[in-house]
Structure formats: C-alpha cells, structure tokens
Amino acid sequence: MKVAFLGATRGMGRSLSRLMAARGDDVFLLGRDVADLERSARDLEARAGRGSVGAAPCDLEKPGGFAAALDAAEARLGGLDAVVVTAGDFARQEELERDVERARRLLEVDFTNTVVFCEHARRRLLARGGGTLAVFSSVAGERGRKPVILYGAAKAGLSRYLEGLDHKFRAQGLRTVCVKPGFVKTSMTDGLRPPPFAGDPDDVARDVLGAIDRGRPVVYAPPIWRWIMLAIRMLPRFVMRRIGF
C-alpha cells in the first residue's frame, strides 16, 4: 500500500506508521517540522529494514501548502492508495475558554483545515479510482461534554464530514475510515488524569490498521469506547449537566 501520512512523528500516528512500514507499506511523511520528519523517516527505515522513506513539509495551519505536499507524496510513492491523517491540535477546555484566539486556531486546524486537506486527498484518491482515507477524529465529538466542548465540537464536525464522504463516495471506491480514539496515553494527554480504559498507542494502532484493511467506516479505539460512548449518548441532559465527564 502507498500511504501519505500526515502526523506520523508523534503519538498514535507514530505507532501506526511503524506498523505500516514494518509490514512493507510504502509510507511518505507529511508534517510541520522537516528535521523531525527526517528523524521519523530514518526510524521507519531502520525498523522496516528496507526501502527509503520520503518526507515533505505540510502544516495544518497553512492550507495553501496542502496540494503541493500531496503532489510530493504522490510523485515519490508513484501512486497513492491511502491517506492517513492523525495530526491535529489539542488544548484543555479551560485554556480555550480563557483565550478566544487560541480557540479559533484550534477550531480552524481540527475542523476547517483538516476537512480542506481531506478534500485534496479525496480528489486525488477518486481520480485514481479510489483508495482509503483514514482520519483521526475523537470520541470527544460524540456528545457535548464539559471537559472538551470546543475540541469536541471540531471533532463532531469532522466526524459528520467523514460520514458524509462515506455515504456519497463509497460506491466510487473511496473508503473513508473515521477513527474515534478514546483516552489514549500519549504526549497529547500528558498531565491529564487517565480515566479507566485509557488506551496504549500501540494497541490503538493495531486496531486502526485492522479497520483500514477492512475499510470499516467507523472505528473506536480501544474498542470498549464504542460501548462507553453509547452509554454516554443515552444519558439524559439533566445527568450531563451534573456530571463532570
């Protein structure tokens, strides 16, 4: 599989890109920091034990560069079977409430610009007769919850967008995979108190790779979060107002 990967340098993206490289997928890395991308590229090469991994800059805050970045990926890979997006922005709700400009930036990165990036990717994949678009949304988008109001709103929008893509383009060969991680212990969530059922990035990556291979439109990771979120979606409003979760 020829994969363009936005966000492979850290967290779940790092774990997932390693699994892909280790099993022989050709991976091309996109991200903000070129030096950091190069280090991750060397890591994937060393772990896979063969091939060379290319990289190009791509910043979710700069949508003007999306087309060029995906062009570079397609050219280097000599094709494109899948695009994976694990990159995103995160900040605590309290910080976003204090600083409206910070909130605007997060909403723009996690919703508008991620969707714009996916639009570029979608066109390219469809032009090649289809492929997989796997994007990391979040369980935070499943219900309006006090600790993740703004982040959750952006992810809710992203999940809806991916759902729509799946409905419209699946028949044309575009397999959209919306990944909804629950709480996963990564540097993004460092300093937050992990709830029960907190996941490990390597385990999440295995689940996600399985979902990508099977083309499942929605995947919760770790899987138990599907049932946790089902329960939370069913809680009546007066309960949601009282609990802190």
Partner: protein
C-alpha cells in the same frame, strides 16, 4: 508505569516518593529544565526518583526513534527512550541482538547507559558501556555535548554507570552483535552447594558466553547455596528450529498481593520445588531468547507479589581478593538474619569496565529480593558491613537503603567521579532521590 497513587512515583521495588513524570517525544525540549531523566522505572530503589525539592522527572520512553542502523557493522544510533524490548524485537529477525542485556528488557537505552548494565555474559563481554560508541547529552548548563571514548572522554566514562547524574542522555550509539540464529541453546545443571557453585560458574564461563545461577538462600548447612546453574549460547542454524520466535502475551499479577504471601515458609516451599523439579541433573534445550534472558518479564507486574510495603533488591559484588569463602560468609550472614528471598541470583563478573562508577568487578555478584519489613534496614546495614569488610560494593540501580558512610567506604572511586561531575555541573543541579540520600546532594 510504577506510578503509585496520585502524585507519587516509585522504583520497581514499589516504595513511593512524591513525584510525577512529564512525558514527551521531544527529549531535547523535555530535558531543558529537568534535574533527572527516568526511563521505564525498572531500577529497584530510588535512582529514577526525583529529589524532594524538585518532584518532577523527565520521562524518556516516548523518545524512542532509531536514527541510524548499519547492517554491515551493527552500529545503531537511537533516542535514549528506546526500549531494549523494541530494539530486540526489531533486530532479532534480522540477525542482530543487544551485545549486553540485563535481566529485563523493559529498560531504555538511556537507562542501560546510566546503570552501565551487565548481563549473563559479563565474564566475557563486559558491561553495556563497553559497546557504546557515542553519547549525545544535555549537560547541566543546558549545552548539548557529544561524548565518546575519545571525545570528552572524562564525561563519557563518568556517564557510564553515573546514574544519570552527569547529564541527560539524549541519544545512544552502540554496536549490536550478529547472532547465528534467533534461538538460544541452554544447558541447566543442579548444583549442591555454594563452593561447588562458584567452581561451576568459573568452569562454565570458559566454555559458555552466558552463565548465571539461581541459588536457594534459605538452605543451610551442607546444602547451603544449592541451586541451578544456567548456561547458554546462541544456537547455530542447524541446531535451531526453523522460523523466528514469536513474542508471547504475558500473564500479569493483577493487584498488590497481601504482605504475608511472600514469607519464609512459602519461599522455602517454592525453592524446594524449583530445585527438586530439575531432573535430570543436567538438561539441554533450545529456547526463546526472551525466556532465557528475561524469565521474570514473563509475568507482568511481578513486583506486586511482595505486598503493599514493597521490596528492595540487594546486589553486591564480592571481589576475588576476598577469596572463595566470601560468598559462603555472605550466605551464612543472610540465613542467620533470616532474609527470605524468592530470587537469589549469583554470577561471576569479569574485568572492570571503563565506567568510573560501574558496578561489576572481578568476583562474585549476588542479588536477592528482600520484602520491606521493620528489620530490612538493619539487615541491609549488616550485609553492607560484611561487603565493606570483604572489599566489595553494591549496585546503585538496585539500592534503596545503603547509608552514605557505607557507600563511601565501598567506593574509593567516588572522589574521582565526583570531581568530573562537579566540573560539568558546578551548581549540583542534576540530582535524584538517590543522590540526595547517598551523595549528600541538596534536596
């Protein structure tokens, strides 16, 4: 993680102090203001724990990228948080393995350098530091420095075994060894007493690259020091099964067992069964390297077995100069004091390496687990006094209870090491709970 309840951290022995970890993939940023790095928390005592005045450690395990590997030479460069398990699992299928490995693979490269770990092949291949070719470090004044045996050599030598106190280790370059197959051929042998054991280790060491012994340190009299001697080497292709060993999923001790589970009688029963089950007296097998090198890793959270008060591991080396009776004198003292230990490991050490504070020296190393009781401190004091009298020393990666005056008496090398440490960190910024306790660093 061995993070205990909210706001505490502990070593593998599960004796907590106030502290927390800050984690990031970006070790350069993470270490800018840090006073101590911590890897996977497998050191038993307080060496990975923060000083009371600065209860935060920089956790390295997310900084785990391999930066370069040359299959022609086996040279590897990686970020310091790379675990030995990830390294072995990546490279064993390609015919490479770590040149030296401690008894767990849940350890980071940075931790392997900081403790200058040794393994079952110490008598032949020395410490891990002997195979390290370069280190990238952030030193106390914030600069980033590369050191090697021939570049900033003092810093390099002080860092091998320096317990992370000379600078933060960011990247490690070392040489992996080529192995003929991914399997290990072992021979195990039942041994009747301690004197025979020490002879057996010496003799096996001339023929086998990997040797170690388990001894029953509750048996007395003529049976004192009976146990099982384990020998191993990488299997040649024609001796090995086809295919690559597959890592197994491991069971785990699900919660902290009550404190009475490990006591003199249960340990005695365990030891007797373990010893008697070994028939015939000599057995050969081809095994998974993980079960040969890391038998304890097979049980997740085995440290919970020792109950809510936790445990300490005591490891000392008794030098050759102390004579062959030293190990017997040590065991006599231990059995007299009733130190019940499920795990007692004995190993002969080869020549001292270049690490200025590295643990091994020619002689016999003995390691044992001691559950924490009210008398544990006085037991450790007594053992330390014997070790001082024999001219030996203890292993900092295990230590939790040694007194500073005892440590000074064991370590004539301390002054030279401290001098280099002070040169790189005049204000004494980098420190740990252990360095506060043992070296008199400011809290």
């Amino acid at each position: 993680m061995n993070a205990g309840s909210e706001g505490t951290l502990s070593g593998w022995g599960r004796v907590p102090v106030a502290g927390r970890e800050v984690r990031s993939e970006d070790l350069e940023a993470l270490t800018r203001d840090a006073v101590l790095c911590r890897g996977l928390g497998r050191s038993y005592g307080d060496s990975s724990l923060p000083p009371p005045g600065h209860p935060v450690v920089a956790a390295t395990p997310l900084a785990d990228r391999i930066l370069a590997f040359d299959p022609a030479t086996g040279n590897l460069r990686a970020e310091a948080g790379l675990s030995l398990r990830a390294l072995n699992r990546s490279f064993l299928p390609r015919g490479f393995y770590s040149p030296v490995t401690p008894g767990t693979q849940m350890i980071t490269l940075g931790g392997m350098v900081a403790a200058d770990v040794h393994g079952k092949n110490h008598h032949r291949d020395g410490c891990f530091g002997a195979h390290v070719t370069r280190l990238r470090m952030r030193v106390a004044d914030g600069r980033i420095v590369e050191c090697a045996p021939d570049r900033e050599a003092e810093l390099f030598r002080a860092t091998l075994g320096g317990m992370g106190l000379t600078g933060h280790i960011l990247e490690v370059e070392c040489r992996l060894v080529r192995v003929p197959s991914p399997w290990v051929l072992t021979e195990t042998e039942r041994i009747h007493d301690i004197d025979r054991f020490i002879e057996g280790l010496k003799e096996a060491g001339s023929r086998w690259p990997h040797t170690v012994g388990w001894i029953d340190c509750l048996s007395r009299g003529p049976l004192m020091g009976r146990g099982i001697l384990m020998k191993g080497r990488w299997a040649e292709p024609h001796e090995a099964p086809r295919g690559v060993p597959v890592p197994r999923r491991r069971p785990s001790v699900p919660f902290v067992l009550p404190g009475w589970v490990v006591n003199r009688w249960t340990v005695r029963a365990f030891n007797a069964v373990y010893y008697r089950r070994h028939v015939p007296a000599v057995r050969r097998a081809v095994v998974h390297p993980e079960s040969f090198f890391y038998p304890l890793d097979a049980i997740g959270h085995w440290n919970r077995m020792y109950g809510p008060r936790g445990f300490t591991q005591y490891q000392c080396v008794l030098p050759e100069s102390a004579g062959r009776g030293a190990a017997r004198r040590f065991l006599e003292l231990l059995t007299r004091r009733g130190g019940a230990s499920m795990l007692c490991v004995i190993k002969d050490c080869g020549p001292e390496g270049i690490g200025l504070l590295s643990f091994p020296r020619p002689g016999i190393s003995i390691a044992l687990d001691i559950p924490i009781h009210d008398e544990t401190q006085s037991l450790v004091d007594a053992l330390n006094e014997l070790v001082i009298a024999e001219g030996g020393r203890v292993y900092l990666a295990k230590d939790q209870l040694t007194r500073p005056e005892h440590f000074r008496a064991m370590e004539p090398r301390l002054a030279a090491w401290t001098c280099i440490r002070r040169k790189w960190d005049p204000e004494g910024r980098l420190r740990s709970a252990q360095s506060v306790r043992l070296l008199g660093d400011r809290p």
